[in-house]
Symmetry: C2
Subunit: 506 residues, 2 copies
Amino acid sequence: MKELIKEFEEFEKEIYLLKNTSALLYFDKTTIMPEKSSNFRDEQMSYFALKEHQILTSKRFQELIEELSQKNTFSKLDNIIKNKVIVYKKKLKKIVCLPDEFVKEFEKIKGKSYNNWVLARENNDYNLFKEDLRKVVEFSIKKAKYINPKINPYDVLLDDYEEGMRVKDLKIMFSRLKEEVIEILSKIKKSSMYNHDNIFKGMIFKKDTQKEVLEDIFNMLIKGDNKKRFTWSQTIHPFMIRIEQNDVRICNAIKEDDPMFSFLGCSHECGHALYELSFPNEYSNSVLMDRSSLGMHESQSKFWENYVFLSKSFWSGYFEKYRNYFKDELKDIDLDSFYRNICKVKSSLIRVKADEITYILHIIIRFELELNLIEGNIGVDELPELWNKKLKKYLGIEPKNIKEGVLQDIHWSEGVFGYFPTYTLGSIYATMYDSKLKEVFVDYEDKIYNRELDDIIDWLKENISKYTNTKLTKDIIKKACSKEIDIECYINYLKNKYYELYNIED
Amino acid sequence: MKELIKEFEEFEKEIYLLKNTSALLYFDKTTIMPEKSSNFRDEQMSYFALKEHQILTSKRFQELIEELSQKNTFSKLDNIIKNKVIVYKKKLKKIVCLPDEFVKEFEKIKGKSYNNWVLARENNDYNLFKEDLRKVVEFSIKKAKYINPKINPYDVLLDDYEEGMRVKDLKIMFSRLKEEVIEILSKIKKSSMYNHDNIFKGMIFKKDTQKEVLEDIFNMLIKGDNKKRFTWSQTIHPFMIRIEQNDVRICNAIKEDDPMFSFLGCSHECGHALYELSFPNEYSNSVLMDRSSLGMHESQSKFWENYVFLSKSFWSGYFEKYRNYFKDELKDIDLDSFYRNICKVKSSLIRVKADEITYILHIIIRFELELNLIEGNIGVDELPELWNKKLKKYLGIEPKNIKEGVLQDIHWSEGVFGYFPTYTLGSIYATMYDSKLKEVFVDYEDKIYNRELDDIIDWLKENISKYTNTKLTKDIIKKACSKEIDIECYINYLKNKYYELYNIED
């Protein structure tokens, strides 16, 4: 058995070496690489992806997992190896059922579809992309059928991003949420405070000063040994990436006319980074060094972004210091109007620019449409019209063009269906931590006010992050928050916060 | 034959993919990677080095090269493939003769030796390193004997860095050079202008402004398409690296008390970069995409650094613009005293901080000592004493401690013998281009004065860079400069420049 384990560990080491190299190639491509090198880099990245795939699906590795899964052997393995075997079994099950020819063709289709999505956006013309999208939908359904022909194909696809979550759960949560959020939004729109001007208009927040502010965030969140395991760079699109367990990086963008873009973006990405920095050492560079689900990952970033760095407690404690960074710009602005301004709600067309309230409706629109596409209830021809209808109905606005409508997101063009719901799941989970932490620490709000966040970081590590992908998200949350996923908790949070901000009586 | 070539090209593609990945891993390690990740990164780098080595020395690849070398086949190959086969044959000849056991042991010895060199420097104690150095010397000689037992082992080692160059050539050039440079230095020391104060003393040259100055250099040297193939970052140790043909990077360091450190460092690294950016497209990511020799590479960087950006013509044209960047600091300084200051000669202990004149003597000391070590004429016990003696004799100074003496350079600790001479060879070659270019362009000095450098860039590309490693350095230079390597040309340049600067009559 020792031999078996040794062989397994050698395989795993190589798989992770290749995976981490791919991560670095991606990071470098996005941040530093000169543009002329992109063809070569794409080739290089395909090479490593293929190598990793070949090792993972090699006959010997499959046999190994099979041998280690045999009852007699499995029962004698230590817990870490047991978990590894379970995760690999699940992974392999989803991969090996796909015929090579199918995988190749789907890759090609997705490549073409992405390119034509870019083209269609540039030309503001859905027809340039429609047929590709039709193929991508068709192949996504086929893929789901290969993996498990017995269940709803959307459930199969969703499982890649939010393991264990099912359409029926989402439908219940999202229909309840939709109803409430539409009502909250309509009340906000009726409020006398709706549509107030952006008080930052015309101001310039210098990049170098914004960088100093970001250092404040790093100092609050990235502490001790983590400082030697973390780095950050500037880019256009913010993201977090782990190269390997001791190398977690975030990229952040700074806009001189919108200081909250870098501030909240940075707290968001730091949340993602903290999650990965908190994975247990003993899983080092193994298959267990991975998120439980995308919703779980998003709950970490959303927690820090919305529940800490966009909370009234935080700004009550930090505003004076912050105003000192931008003495000229903010000299006539008080905490109250500052806070209202950064929490403004307004219906808008673009998801990534949306506020906490309208963001939810953007997600629900996408969820409803993609579910219907994958269940075969609607076709790609009807998509733009349905998009616009829902936008009108839920948000009260209509896109002027297709670029600001159905073509705005990259996901579907790359064959990614079942990803959108995880953004809102992240918020739902994050509210549950916020609510639980109020019970755990009587001085929770004071901690945030005083920017003493270590206990909160530790709580998340001990109750959430340490389980990585060894447990399902819903089980981790149940244990951590002492209850099932609770949509009412989220609805209450939204009402409390925004009814107060907009002086609305419930 | 088509089949053979196809197979060969697939091998080569993989070798270059791995090589380029290693280059990126190294770049990232030196610039961005968080420090805690270094163990993993070292492992990752060994993995790729080993993979590359395994493919290169695989039975099938060796057979392929053998088959392609067969007279009948070889004669039918196109020129590019012919050259590739020749270069691989040479490479393999040097590798396959080394027993696996020997290679492994030598790697271990070098690793230990490097670590103990670091330790010895920290503790200022040669004894912590001496025994490792003894082993490294012993194994370097062994290696040379494996490769070619019939010739001087130093010639074998030198060939890796300066192919075709031999000890007898170096001895002739360097003894002539030593005699002349010692005389030049003694005359400079007798000059009334020797030992003048550094006029930059106490000034602060802001980093951001220095960066703007560097942009001037980039704008002069990196033009058109090359802008999309080049990038630069800031680090502690300046270097140039090619990730692949369309991805050439330099790293540069900025010191606020010494503006020439970044200025000349940047021109130096840009010279290296321009060489690699000028390699022909048709050699894309193949074994032909490589330098002819280290001396050749260094000649490109030295040419731009010393013959363009440290020339009187350049500063006569640029000084006013430069002074504008540092209005406060340089307001009372005229061109003449500025130029004398940046060309100051002074005996000093550390090679990398030395000026154009004393640098040569630093190299000759190292060459003489390493040659004697490898020829077995001296042992590591005597090294520190001999070092100090030579320093006293050639430069008139003595190190206060071993850290500033024989322990200052990394090279020997890593088993690198035969590298040092290439620094000075680079200067010798560069002077020959400078001298040739004066013939080729009657307005050569004007071009430099006006910072119109395109013709010079093109000349170097057409006459030097395009040959990459398909010709020996001496042959490239002979064709480009219409004469053999000419040490007198270098001596004349040094005399002309420094006798004028120090008002010395010849």
